[in-house]
Every structure is written in C-alpha cells, then in structure tokens.
Amino acid sequence: MNQREILLKRVQICDFVLNDTALFLDTHPTDPMALGYYKKYLTIREKASKEFVEKYGPLVRSDYAGGPRWDWVDEPWPWQNKKEA
C-alpha cells in the first residue's frame, strides 16, 4: 500500500466512523462520549484529507485550491485505482 492509498484509506475510515457516530448522535444528541469521539475523528479526517489534497489532488471538487489548473479532471479516477481504496 503506497502513501496515497494509505492516506485515502485513512480518509475513508474516518468518513465511515463519522457517519456511524452521526447516526448514533441523531438519537443521542447530548452523549458526551459520542460527541468526543466525533470531534476526535473529525480532526483526524480533516488532517488526513488536507494532506491528501496537498499531495495528490482534490477528493471533492470543492477542494480546488485556486491554482491555474482545474485538477479535478486529473487521473486517477476512482475506477482507475488498482484496488478498492
């Protein structure tokens, strides 16, 4: 697993646990443990995605950083990854 794949996987895992935690918080909006966990993984996710975007380009179109090139169209597209992230 190269650095790009590791970073992408980290973002993906963060997105998953954030989503599952959000579902829990929907019914337990004041649960301090869940809120703390969400906050922690939100930070990890932001850090990981920031690092990924800087090194390998945007994950979503709004990651556009204002440069001279619309790098959203640059390869690889998700289906060009050698294996599923």
């Binding site: 993906q12 646990v17 599952d20 935690t21 019914t27 337990h28 869940a34 966990y37 993984y41």
Partner: protein
C-alpha cells in the same frame, strides 16, 4: 360484564379465548356458515343474567331461526367441532360494541391466526455508547458497534 368475560376465557393471559385456540388448532374442516342477522337492541341484554335470551329473526334465506343464549362457562368446554358449527355464538353473546376489532372476526374467517388475537407491542432498547470497535475494524465489520455486529444472512450476498 368483566366477570362474565373472565368466565368466557377472554382474559386468560394470552389474549385469546381458550375455545378459539382449540378451534384454530383443530384440523376439522370449516362448514359453510349461514349467519343470521344481528337483532337490533340485543345489546341491551345484560349478559350477566344467565336466563337472558333473545329471539333471532328469520334469516334472509328463511331457513334459520335460532335462539341465542349466552354460553355459560361449562358449555364453552364442548367439543371443538360443535363450536365450529356456530362460531358466531361467542360474538353474539357479547355486545359487539365492546369487542375490540380483532375479536369481532369469527376464528374460521381468519386466514392468519394473528388476525384473531391481540396486536403485539414491540420495543427497541435505547442503544448505549459502550464498547466500540477500533476505526479500521469498524470499517471492516460495517459497524462501529459490536452490539450491532450481528450475523445477517441475506440472499444473494456473501456470508461473512
């Protein structure tokens, strides 16, 4: 009325009169039932009086004229095949308005046994933020919560 229902077996702890359960378990085939119309005003009959009787009018077909007598507890014990011939007796012995919807149907009319019995009540316990998986394991298992990591065996998908 309450005491009468107790005697009739309506409150046997299971929500189903004992006689109905016997009927539903009986393999005897249902004979065709010709149901006489309900007499207006029969509801005024006080079921607690054992001698309460009422005349049923002629049915539209003209061949039925029956006297309906509230069934005393002992008669409830008669063989199931006799009960099946006149399943409406139970309901006629009760003022219709006091019967919950699910009990108004005669047992043989029920395609599914559940249609004759009290509706169920379900509950879902509130989930607790207890032990949770490590993030990468959660991703693997498809849930953050070990409590919800259950063996679902769906069709057409792989079984973990």
């Amino acid at each position: 009325m309450e005491a009468y229902r107790n005697q009739m077996g309506f409150y046997n702890g299971k929500g189903v009169p004992e006689s109905w359960r016997r009927i539903s378990q009986s393999p005897v085939k249902t004979p065709e039932i010709i149901r006489p119309p309900v007499t207006p005003g029969y509801e005024e009959c006080d079921s607690e009086e054992r001698d309460c009787q009422m005349e049923m009018p002629m049915s539209p077909m003209g061949e039925i004229s029956m006297r309906v007598i509230p069934i005393p507890p002992m008669e409830m014990e008669k063989p199931a095949h006799l009960m099946r011939t006149m399943p409406e007796m139970e309901n006629l012995a009760q003022p219709m308005d006091t019967l919950p919807d699910e009990r108004r149907a005669s047992p043989p009319d029920c395609a599914f046994p559940g249609a004759c019995i009290t509706l169920a009540m379900a509950y879902v316990p509130m989930q607790q933020w207890d032990a949770i998986y490590e993030a990468d394991q959660a991703m693997e298992r498809g849930t953050l919560f070990p409590d919800l990591d259950l063996p679902f065996f769906g069709k057409g998908d792989c079984i973990r």
